[in-house]
Amino acid sequence: MVTPESGASETSGVDIELDERGKLCPLPIIALGKAAASAPGGTVIGVLSNDAAARYDVPAWCSMCAATFLGSTDHEDYVEYRIRTAGGNRTDD
């Protein structure tokens, strides 16, 4: 579920926002991987998730895929994570 930045995100500078609420890991991370693979380097991606594992897996994904973890914002029933892609391709390709 990829939507262009439209004000849905409270944080400015998010290029792509992924609404992964209600999905369990690894689904939010798969969505992140897919979005990052087709996005140009330096793209800022926001991921909205209420899965407990995302708190650990978004930063871990960043370290495995040479992306930068920019931080997260806690909301009442979900968390927004922000990352910046290093490149447009998966690291193993």
Partner: protein
Amino acid sequence: MSEAERSPTSEGSLRPDATPPAARVFLDSASGQPLHPAALAALTTAYADGWADPRGLPYQNRRAAILLDAARESIAVILGVRADEVSFVSSGTAAVHLGVAGFVPRPQSTVVTSAVEHSSVLAASRLYAANHPGSTATLVPVDSVGRVARDEFDLAVSGQGVVGACLQSANHEVGTVQPTDAAAESCAQAGVPLLVDASASIGSLEPPRQWSILTASAHKWGGPAGVGVLAVRRGSKWRASTPDDERESGRVPGFPNVPAIVAAASSLEAVVQEMVARSARLSALVDVIRRRVPELVPDVQILGDPVDRVPHIVTFSCLYVDGEALLLELDRLGVAVSSGSACTASAQTPSHVLAAMGALTHGNVRVSLPFTCKQVDIDRFLAVLPGAVATVRDHLGARAW
């Protein structure tokens, strides 16, 4: 994960496509070793000869008492303590519960543990804090291989009101050895009893020597389930939290399972005798897994200390993989492993160990080699793993880009 995929495990049934039992490979020894032949032999004998209450005076009772005393002495020698410092309890978890509950409370007590202790330690510490008003349970963080931060541990135990500290000998999920000797020294300086949960390493590494309280579990060294060890050194700041009972030096209530304890001791003796050669052999097999898995599987993170670890445990996480689905796919292919990922049968939250390390929590696989593990078992695991990961990724649409 759909209900259809979940049902085989939740109903405990065997699926029709199950690999024949003889062709199956068991790589989940960290949750329980198969019974050692020495334990089985001892169990049979002890059930015939050691069934009576060891506390009674007649002949049959004295026979049971002799067997129990001999088992206690044997384990005490291996642990390097006096026999009367060793008590038997019904499990490693029960040993931890009683061990932590025995810390002597003060006003505003604090129990210090590493963040990656076995869940029984963390749960016991939280309950201790809840049971003693004003008390707290403090978690000390770990580094990326799961080793406790020494400086922070030292600082935490030297704080006010610390009544006890807990540090495992090695981590049960990722195998990393913890600096228990150094922790024991800082605890001694602070006058704090240190509980070392040695469950993950007893039988695989030399037992830790410096501690006030030690806990262990027999089924992790090839003994029967239902036997834990709670050793408390004389003079430790510790007292039994259970009602008065004469058994087990007053530390553990109730009639002990003498035959199982005898079998546990026989197994530990045998396992320790073979330890040096076996550990070197298993460690080399783990090295093969650590080297080969990243070559065979794309996007994988090998976890834990590559060198300073128990010989038989290796853990890794596969990106874009559902840990439970991978575990079930490997089981379908005849290989048993475990997983620290959320959504696996026992947990809805990811492993606190992986979380504390900052590791990827999904797609996690723990491989733990039984004492009898052979190269051919590892070859089999490595042969089926890449296909199993690919199958799970395909199912999740994770390889379509």
